[in-house]
């Protein structure tokens, strides 16, 4: 059967075909759709974990009792999972374990451009890198074989252009006899006390040497000779751009990017006059090729920042660029919070109160954008609360009051809760706002332990944020309606005054929740033309449904698009002239 699949869909299919029994992840663009597709195969138990470290631990547990498991995350998630990952390299596996890590060159939706190939080298485990969706499927299957054959976890690395691009894929069958999970005790291998681990380190080093030797004859590392003038070593999406831009070049296409098959590289180098490495981000292959004494041209011409495109490769090799039309400068079109988003009123209030907002990762990071412009810091998942603690520690009392951490429900459960425990325990004095919109919104509305539903869509236990905060020692916890601006203002202002930790929880859902009955839109509002004084107060919240019509009235007037408005009523509370009313 042939279908057009994205890289993510193909990885899910590959895991299914490889007999995977457990798949676990924390959502993160561009990796998210892998688990949203494994869930279609009832043979695989798919679940969202609270964070990447937990996801990997679930995968490890399943592997140790013999099942093949799949764990997926985006590049920054690997930092969270790094602790168990390093030791897993020492223990090795029982059932095959594949960790998919999706990098995001060009930062399409990330906070940094980390090159996760360095992790494979640092952790000392093999890494495969597919170049299209068919390879995503095939390499996933192969990764399980390598994992079990060499007793190692395997990383499968994709980049945004592999995860989210689609190409034609031919399916295979799910393999029949994968072994049945059962308890097998092997503490010498699975208990990494220093005495055991010391011995395992030798195993890890031998494994890497062996893999490097065997990589020479691994079919996914292949030489394509097309003449001897120019040779290019490349992998992943860069391979496609090289084929596009340099059709005459001979290519060493690496399917396994760690460890490198050095003998194959030597042989290829000896066959061509001039050798290049074309790779995105770090000079990962280049540095290692140079280290074995082979001269090669790489980052002198290939950009180190951002993703490659066929055009950027052409440019690097000094080929003429295609003629293109130049256009005048235009207003940008950044993303915006949805009409009726429950976060809008909170950020408006924070701005009004001149709060110093310690932000986090989620839809609410868009609170940074004008006109709300109410976010002062944002570093990584779960960091907002810890950073607020640090800032409050050193500021004088008047300044200290302004420190407010904001965090979403899913992010709070991810790693924010640790920050809150620390804040309470160490007597930190800042205000924390948990923006509980009942879903992990930014990555595309995934369920989490606060939403009361599993990935496989079963109803489940629902975390009670209020009780949870109290249980870890927060004395001042209150829940507010974020769509009521007066209530927001009173609550936030009062808690900012308090010289100890307090938590405010908002309780209105995201407008995009798929499950019925969670979000109930209100009737759309309209601007009563005669009453609108053109004061622009309603524009301060940046709702996409409200448009300024400069040509209307004396000073211009606001207009609400009835098709976009979700009737949240926030704008009408801003209008002193009562010009915004329910549409008739």
């Amino acid at each position: 059967m042939k279908e057009i699949l994205s890289g993510n869909e193909a990885i899910a299919r590959g895991a299914y075909e490889a007999g995977v029994k457990v798949a676990c992840a924390y959502p993160g663009t561009p990796s998210t759709e892998i688990l949203e597709n494994t869930v279609r195969y009832k043979e695989i138990d798919s679940s969202w974990a609270t964070n990447e470290k937990v996801a990997l631990e679930v995968g490890i547990g399943a592997s140790f009792v013999g099942a093949r498991s799949l764990v997926t995350m985006k590049h920054v998630g690997v930092n969270v999972a790094a602790d168990p990952l390093f030791t897993l390299s020492y223990t090795g596996v029982n059932g095959g374990l594949v960790l998919v890590c999706a990098d995001d060159p060009e930062l399409h939706s990330s906070q940094d451009e980390q090159d996760s190939r360095n992790y494979a080298k640092f952790v000392k485990i093999p890494m495969l890198e597919p170049s299209d969706s068919q390879e995503c499927l095939d390499f996933t299957r192969l990764a399980y074989e390598i994992s079990e054959k060499y007793d190692t976890p395997v990383m499968l690395r994709t980049t945004t252009r592999i995860s989210h691009s689609k190409s034609v894929v031919t399916f295979g069958e799910r393999i029949g006899a994968v072994k049945e999970p059962k308890l097998e005790r092997n503490p010498a291998k699975f208990v990494m006390l220093p005495g055991n681990a010391r011995g395992r380190h030798y195993v890890v080093e031998d494994r890497t040497l062996q893999l490097s030797k065997d990589g020479v004859s691994l079919p996914i590392n292949r030489v394509e000779m097309r003449g001897t003038k120019m040779g290019v070593i490349t992998a992943g999406i860069s391979y496609q751009h090289v084929r596009e831009a340099l059709p005459e070049a001979s290519v060493l296409k690496l399917g396994m990017v760690h460890p490198l098959p050095f003998d194959l590289i030597r042989e290829f180098a000896s066959k061509v006059d001039k050798l290049y490495v074309v790779e995105e981000l770090d000079p990962f292959i280049e540095d290692q090729v140079k280290a074995i004494g082979i001269p090669v041209i790489g980052k002198e011409i290939i950009p180190i920042c951002g993703e490659l495109t066929p055009g950027r490769v052409r440019k690097a090799f000094g080929l003429p660029e295609n003629a293109s039309s130049t256009v005048e400068k235009l207003p940008g079109r950044p993303p915006n919070m949805c009409p009726g988003c429950p976060h809008r009123g909170v950020f408006y209030t924070l701005k009004q109160l001149n709060a110093y907002v310690s932000g986090d990762i989620g839809c609410y990071t868009l609170g940074f954008m004008p006109p709300l412009s109410a976010m002062d810091t944002c570093v990584c998942m779960g960091a907002s609360i810890g950073m607020a603690t640090g800032a409050a520690k050193v500021l004088p009392p008047e300044e200290r009051k302004k420190v407010v951490a904001v965090i979403g429900d899913s992010t709070f459960l991810h790693t924010g809760i640790n920050g809150l425990m620390d804040m309470v325990y160490n007597k930190g004095a800042a205000t924390v706002i948990i923006l509980d919109n009942r879903i992990t919104a930014m990555t595309g509305r995934q369920e989490n332990p606060g939403s009361g539903h599993t990935l496989m869509n079963d109803p489940t236990n629902e975390v009670n944020f209020e009780l949870l905060c109290k249980a870890i020692g927060v004395k001042n916890v209150r829940t507010i309606n974020p769509l009521d601006l007066d209530e927001c203002r009173t609550a936030i202002a009062e808690e900012m005054e308090r010289p100890e930790t307090s938590v405010i929880i908002t309780d209105k859902p995201c407008v995009l929740i798929k499950r019925e009955g969670v979000f109930k839109p209100g009737a759309p509002l309209q601007v009563v033309d005669d009453a609108c004084a053109g004061c622009r107060a309603c524009l301060k919240i940046g709702c996409p449904a409200i448009e300024w019509i400069p040509s209307s009235g004396k000073k211009g007037k606001a207009h609400i698009d009835p098709l976009l408005c979700n009737g949240c009523d926030v704008c009408s509370q801003l209008c002193k002239f009562s010009a915004i009313k329910e549409a008739k």
């Binding site: 042939k2 057009i4 663009t29 561009p30 399409h108 939706s109 299209d132 945004t160 252009r161 989210h164 691009s165 689609k166 190409s167 034609v168 999406i237 496609q240 751009h241 084929r243 596009e244 831009a245 495109t309 066929p310 055009g311 052409r314 660029e321 295609n322 003629a323 293109s324 039309s325 130049t326 256009v327 005048e328 235009l330 207003p331 940008g332 079109r333 950044p334 993303p335 915006n336 919070m337 949805c338 839809c363 868009l366 954008m369 004008p370 006109p371 930014m442 990555t443 595309g444 995009l512 622009r536 524009l539 940046g542 996409p544 409200i546 448009e547 300024w548 400069p550 211009g556």
Partner: protein
């Protein structure tokens, strides 16, 4: 089958159905026996950001991204986004664009103005430009939301692919209850010259 790869760039604003149109294009080309690659950036797509999707088909396609300045067709859902991405098109390329302006945030709040004469400026650079009144035609077909299928019909007329493959792809990708309207919208787009 010639070795030449055909490059299509779809641009517009998140929420306009661009990703579905790109899926239908890809499916059509696969059904017609071509190698197909498609690439796009989503994540922000539902929140009104600018969306670009690349679809390439031919005997063998390597990169999933249309090389800069190699685009054969720009398939635009909104005027300003279409104008913004003209540099992806090769000289003399074809533009099929929806006659629609969607204000970005800075314009909504009255900070900037929506640039004037976008359609004329596109036609200036690319005389082979078809301006489609997608919204009105979609309403005539039975649903304002089928504008993307009207446009798809207009684009289909500019590609050498048998009609049956288009219909088959639409039947596969569009939900049952919206199918009739969409097939009608497609034919109306195809009827435009």
């Amino acid at each position: 089958m010639s070795d030449k790869v055909t490059n299509i760039v779809l641009v517009g604003v998140g929420g306009q159905g661009i990703l579905l149109a790109a899926e239908i294009l890809s499916e059509t080309f696969m059904l017609a026996g071509f190698d197909v690659k498609k690439s796009e950036i989503h994540g922000m797509s539902q929140r009104g950001g600018s969306v670009v999707s690349h679809v390439r088909y031919g005997k063998e396609v390597f990169s999933p991204m249309v090389p800069e300045g190699d685009g054969d067709i720009l398939f635009g859902f909104e005027l300003m986004e279409s104008y913004r991405h003209l540099s992806l098109l090769k000289p003399g390329g074809t533009v099929v664009v929806n006659d629609l302006c969607i204000a970005p945030p800075s314009v909504l709040i009255g900070q900037e103005q929506y640039p004037a004469d976008m359609a004329l400026k596109i036609q200036d650079l690319f005389p082979d430009c078809l301006l489609v009144d997608g919204q009105n035609l979609a309403i005539q077909a039975g649903n304002a939301r089928a504008a993307n299928t009207v446009l798809l019909g207009a684009v289909s007329k500019r590609l050498d692919i048998e009609e049956k493959y288009w219909v088959e792809a639409i039947e596969k990708m569009v939900p049952k209850k919206a199918l009739e309207v969409n097939l009608k919208a497609f034919q109306m787009g195809r009827g435009l010259k």
